[in-house]
Subunit: 320 residues, 3 copies
Amino acid sequence: MKNFTSVYDIDNLQEIIAKALKIKENPLENPTKGKGKTIGLVFLNSSLRTRLSSQIAAQNLGLNVLTLNAAQEAWNLEFADGTVMNSDTVEHIKDAIEVLNQYCDIIAVRCFAGMKNKADDVNESILSQFLKHAKVPVISLESATRHPLQSLADCITITENWTENRKPKVVLTWAPHIKPIAQAVGNSFTEWMQQMDVDFVIANPEGYDLDKNFTKDTKVIHNQDEALKDADFVYVKNWSSFEDYTAMPKVDENWMLSNEKLELTNNGKVMHCLPVRRNLELSDEVVDGENSIIYQQAKNRIFSAQAVFSEILDEINSKD
Amino acid sequence: MKNFTSVYDIDNLQEIIAKALKIKENPLENPTKGKGKTIGLVFLNSSLRTRLSSQIAAQNLGLNVLTLNAAQEAWNLEFADGTVMNSDTVEHIKDAIEVLNQYCDIIAVRCFAGMKNKADDVNESILSQFLKHAKVPVISLESATRHPLQSLADCITITENWTENRKPKVVLTWAPHIKPIAQAVGNSFTEWMQQMDVDFVIANPEGYDLDKNFTKDTKVIHNQDEALKDADFVYVKNWSSFEDYTAMPKVDENWMLSNEKLELTNNGKVMHCLPVRRNLELSDEVVDGENSIIYQQAKNRIFSAQAVFSEILDEINSKD
Amino acid sequence: MKNFTSVYDIDNLQEIIAKALKIKENPLENPTKGKGKTIGLVFLNSSLRTRLSSQIAAQNLGLNVLTLNAAQEAWNLEFADGTVMNSDTVEHIKDAIEVLNQYCDIIAVRCFAGMKNKADDVNESILSQFLKHAKVPVISLESATRHPLQSLADCITITENWTENRKPKVVLTWAPHIKPIAQAVGNSFTEWMQQMDVDFVIANPEGYDLDKNFTKDTKVIHNQDEALKDADFVYVKNWSSFEDYTAMPKVDENWMLSNEKLELTNNGKVMHCLPVRRNLELSDEVVDGENSIIYQQAKNRIFSAQAVFSEILDEINSKD
């Protein structure tokens, strides 16, 4: 694995899930694999789970960890190429990356969608700079359009929770929010589910269809109740309009997942990537209920990260 | 020791002081006690001594340390139960704690009094959430009403500085400030002194009496000069009114501790938890004077923390 | 080496450069030299390279690292002596340093020029407090008037890039900026070049002469083209007026280093300490061009720091 920014960087999804589950059994089985190597965790945005789980995963492998809260600790970054830097940006992202090349064996970066300019976000204006200028492996800690370490943790969690001898039905359902939220988690979960042996459908209101480049042939249903029917797993997540970018078209029905809605499912397990807006996206009773596997997902972020770091280290070590 | 949030979590105060002093002689005597374990240091408020001493103590024991500046690095937290999260809070404290449960073997948290609502502070609205939802031991790095690691360091410091064969007289004296400050340090020092073999009195102006639930039978004197007479230790600290919560009733006398005031004491040692407002709470000459043991207190924060972490680890390791 | 705040703390410049180059060959050759010792990295200002390279250097030597972003994580600091602290500063720098004395074996601090009061900056109002109150070695991570770890990295980089059997010509040239910038890098580079076996000249517009206490007998030329002629190394850096402190007198000529200007040199290598304002200080084509050794300089920050930390540790260990 050269970089890790989407499911398409994975050779064999079942193998990496199995690897992560083995790591979960004994997280310290390779405590020196990363010895003498440094991972730089660069945060251009807020982070709790990603920040902590990445640090734990790196420590479990013996990697040195450098954490950089770019905006608060370093300099205001310029992202546009060729610009005359005579305004309030102090350092070009290109130079910051070239310096990280000198200091790190792996660069991991969190860079949310800017939600200002659709083309910038669709084209991953920030992550693409890392991929262009990094001379070491790049790992996405969530980018404008994807959140792959979350999605791998989601696949691990579904695998752990499915023992029946048939394909589970997995529903990704939109939920309400008060602010325009990026499509990254929805897009990414969709791509990973397309590679899993599951029946996958997406439920969202009219006007909220995800980018066709991610949904492809996945069935999109505009009626939540219909979609939830017989679901074995329900993944809840808000996103704003992709077509009318960042808009929040009015939704008349109540899309918040409640216990009542959950009764439509096949005793479905409830998933969310967190942070969750309680009683807006999900009711308290669902988050705290027996069907919630939300915190298990959070825990699996460690093993998702550790499996990926481990594969990247294998690649690096094979060249040493 | 299951949790550590007040003196009442200590079985035997003299024993833990002795343990801390032994650690001070050789801080690295148990460098692998915390191996493979992780402590999460969660800061909801500013911190210098607590931040650094906790990290050193944890490193001395071989613990992995995760530091989270919650407000700046993660998400704006919601503390109210049952609320519809349709405003500016992004993650419920309950969910953050449940995630920390997945990532940490010990959770340590700093959560000051909000100084907005008396009942919230008295009831420890934030720390109580940690105690309710944490599935791992919780350590207070200062909460709304107490600062127990500071108080233990204070007990260690008094013990180190007392060799006479009689009880020392210890005075906690209020000092001026320009802003309403929480009672946590005053409350906490009071509780710990009540368990120490000392003569303890509190001096504060009228209107500034601490919560009776902390002072109990401790003598409270409203005349500073009278209280300071023959004091062996003088602990200086500001707090705002508890009764008229956060008010700062006018004080006519000058309560700043000066060398002149210090002459009333029995060559009393001067203590302060820091940060100190020089020439407002204490004069420069006192902070920098021969009687000041303020920096020794700061140093003992390491051994206070290390003794507590060590006891918590003993409990965890006994269950492994 | 007791402290490290300028070239004058170095006994033998050639020796420490040689030492750093040896470290570069094998950064992990002394992985336990700092064992059981703690370095506190105190940032009063932003930092990317200094922050990361110092952490790497410390880790390579087995030092424990405590990083403190003073303003964001701790308290608003007071720097004036004798002041009544009844305003918005919460902790005196003197007390913060005394506490760091208790916690650290080495204190490293970044404290930029305030650019408000010339005398404060010239007298190093902040660094001088560290040198006065610290009881452990102090390392400057850039102060009001100098950036010595950068300058040492610059000397290492020049040494690596010079194989001819004659003195190289090194030019420090001023470059345009939009804000008043401190003279620290310019001063510091000047002082170190004066100790190197090079022909050194400074080029800057009229009104931008550096402090004579730093330039001494170094030739200062007000015509960039003339200065660049036959240069083997061109160090580009902006600074504001020292004489009319923080002023930015109008400059009619274009001082931005472009490929056209570079043709005046002897195929000169281009240096900059970063962050760089692209197309303002240097053109994109120069930063990204073949003559740029800017990222090599950034890499050498690790070995500059590691050589200095190593010497300081030798001194500490010799006293243990």
